[in-house]
C-alpha cells in the first residue's frame, strides 16, 4: 500500500504530471495577463501545451563539439530537481507528500538545480551566445540565491522550525507574514522573478542581445524539458511564497485564489519593467536585497528576544 502511495505521489500527485500540467496552465495565465495589459488578446488556453508537445515531437539536433551525454542528461536533471522539490511543498493546499526536519533547504536547492543545469548546458555548447548566456545565468544565480533563501528563512525563524509543514502550520494560525515581514515578502517575490528569469531579470536569455542565451543550441526534446522544468518551478515558487507569506494554503480553493493573485502581481511587474543589465542585477541584489533581508532578520530576532 505504501509503495503504491509513493508511486502515485512521485508520478501523478503532487509530483510528476500534476506539477507539469499546473505549471503549463500558470504559464498560460502569466502570458495572458501580460497580453491583456498590453491591450492584446493573448494566447489561447492550450498554447503552452501545444508548444510543449510540438517541441517534444521535433527533431533534436546534437550540435558538433558538445558532450552528447551531458547534452542529453542536463534537461532531465533540471526537470527532476524541480519535480523533487514539488514533493516537499504543500502543493494544491494539501499536506506535502514527504517531510523531514530541514526540508526547506533541500527544496530551495532542488529548485536551483534548474538554473545550474541551464548554466552547464550553455557552457557545454561550443558557441559564443550559449557561453555568454550561461555566464549570465550563473552570475544571476549567485546574485539572487542568497537573498531569496534568507527571505524564505524569515518565516522559518519566526516559526522556529526549518520544516516546511511546521512553518505552514505556524503561518496558518498567525497574521499574514506579508504584513509582519513586508521586506522579506518583497525580496522573496523579486527573488522568484530572478529565479525564473522573468523580466526585468531576463538578461540570461535576452533575445535581443544573445539570441536565446544558454539554450540557444537546444532544439526539440531538450528545450521542451527545460520549459516544463521552468513551469514546474514557477508553480512551486508561488506555492512556497503563498504558504510562507500569505497566511498558508489550507485548502485547494485558497491555494488557487492566493497563487493566482500572486501570479497576477508577478505578471504586472513583468509588463511594467524593462530588462536590467547583468551588473545592475547583481548590484541590486547584493547592495539592497541582501542588506534588506538581513535588516529584516535583525528585526525578527530583536522582536523575538523582547
Amino acid at each position: 500500500m505504501e509503495a503504491i502511495g509513493n508511486i502515485v505521489s512521485l508520478l501523478f500527485f503532487p509530483g510528476g504530471l500534476f506539477v507539469i500540467f499546473a505549471g503549463l496552465m500558470y504559464e498560460w495565465l502569466d502570458h495572458k495577463i501580460i497580453a491583456r495589459s498590453q491591450n492584446r488578446i493573448g494566447p489561447r488556453w492550450f498554447q503552452p501545451i501545444a508548444d510543449a508537445i510540438k517541441l517534444l515531437t521535433k527533431e533534436e539536433i546534437v550540435p558538433d563539439g558538445v558532450n552528447p551525454v551531458l547534452f542529453a542528461i542536463l534537461p532531465l536533471i533540471a526537470l527532476a530537481g524541480a519535480l523533487t522539490a514539488a514533493l516537499y511543498v504543500p502543493m494544491a493546499g494539501l499536506k506535502p507528500a514527504y517531510s523531514f526536519a530541514g526540508d526547506l533547504i533541500v527544496t530551495v536547492y532542488m529548485l536551483s538545480l534548474l538554473t545550474l543545469s541551464i548554466g552547464l548546458a550553455g557552457a557545454n555548447a561550443k558557441e559564443r551566445f550559449s557561453l555568454v548566456g550561461s555566464t549570465r545565468a550563473l552570475t544571476q544565480l549567485f546574485a539572487y540565491e542568497a537573498p531569496f533563501l534568507l527571505a524564505l528563512l524569515g518565516p522559518a525563524i519566526a516559526a522556529g522550525s526549518w520544516q516546511i509543514s511546521e512553518i505552514v502550520a505556524y503561518t496558518e494560525t498567525h497574521t499574514w507574514m506579508m504584513i509582519l515581514q513586508p521586506i522579506g515578502f518583497v525580496v522573496a517575490l523579486i527573488g522568484l522573478m530572478g529565479k525564473l528569469e522573468l523580466p526585468p531579470f531576463d538578461s540570461p536569455e535576452a533575445e535581443t542581445e544573445i539570441v536565446a542565451g544558454a539554450l540557444t543550441e537546444y532544439s526539440g526534446r531538450g528545450l521542451a524539458i527545460f520549459h516544463l522544468g521552468k513551469g514546474a518551478e514557477l508553480i512551486i515558487g508561488l506555492t512556497l511564497i503563498t504558504a510562507f507569506y500569505m497566511g498558508g494554503v489550507s485548502n485547494p480553493v485558497w491555494f488557487l485564489v492566493k497563487t493566482v493573485g500572486l501570479l497576477a502581481v508577478l505578471a504586472a511587474l513583468q509588463s511594467l519593467m524593462t530588462r536590467l543589465r547583468i551588473d545592475q542585477t547583481v548590484g541590486m541584489w547584493w547592495r539592497y536585497g541582501a542588506l534588506l533581508v538581513l535588516l529584516q532578520w535583525l528585526i525578527i530576532v530583536v522582536v523575538q528576544l523582547v
Binding site: 489561447r44 508548444d51 510540438k54 533534436e60 539536433i61 528545450l223
Partner: protein
C-alpha cells in the same frame, strides 16, 4: 485496422495539432529594402497580436519552425540563408514574404543579386505584395497552417500569377 495503427493515427493527429497551433518564427532578411521587415514586425505588435495564433518570434534557428524570409538573395547572404535553413530542426517550413522574395522584384538583375528565395531553399508559402500588409502576412501564415493541418501537399511550385509581380 489493428490497435498499433490506431494508436499511431491518434499520435499523428496530436502531433499535427500541436504543430499547427504553435508555429514559432525566425525572421531573416536576405537583402530586402527593409519595407517587408517592418511589416513583419508590425504583424507581431499588439495591434495584430499574432500570439493568439501561437506565433512567437524566436532568436535561435534551433527553436524555430517557420523561416520567414524577405527580400532577394544577395551573393553575400546566400550562404547565411542556407546555413540558417540547415540549422533548423525538422519539420521546418519556409515562407517568402514580398515581391522580392518571390521573384527578385525591384532588385531583379542587380549585379550582386542571385535571385529569389526558392532558388536557394525550398519555399512552402508565398505572400505577395510590396510590402505585403500585416493582414496579408497573417493570411499567408494561416494558409500555411491550414495546409499543414489538412496534410495538403505544400506548394513548392510558384503559382503562375505571382511570376508577373515584378
Amino acid at each position: 485496422m489493428n490497435i498499433t495503427q490506431e494508436w499511431n493515427d491518434i499520435l499523428d493527429k496530436v502531433k499535427t495539432w500541436a504543430r499547427v497551433n504553435s508555429p514559432w518564427l525566425i525572421h531573416y532578411n536576405s537583402g530586402s529594402c527593409n519595407g517587408c521587415d517592418i511589416e513583419i514586425l508590425a504583424t507581431l505588435t499588439p495591434r495584430y497580436d499574432a500570439e493568439r495564433l501561437g506565433v512567437k518570434l524566436q532568436g535561435s534557428p534551433r527553436h524555430a519552425d517557420v523561416l520567414v524570409c524577405t527580400g532577394p538573395v544577395t551573393m553575400q547572404s546566400r550562404d547565411r540563408l542556407q546555413r540558417i535553413y540547415d540549422q533548423m530542426p525538422d519539420p521546418k517550413f519556409v515562407v517568402a514574404v514580398g515581391s522580392c522574395a518571390i521573384s527578385g522584384g525591384a532588385f531583379q538583375g542587380c549585379y550582386n543579386v542571385i535571385g529569389h528565395i526558392d532558388e536557394v531553399i525550398p519555399v512552402d508559402a508565398y505572400i505577395p505584395g510590396c510590402p505585403p500588409r500585416p493582414e496579408a502576412i497573417i493570411d499567408g501564415l494561416v494558409k500555411l497552417l491550414t495546409a499543414i493541418k489538412t496534410g495538403a501537399p505544400i506548394q513548392t511550385e510558384k503559382p503562375e500569377e505571382l511570376l508577373d509581380v515584378v
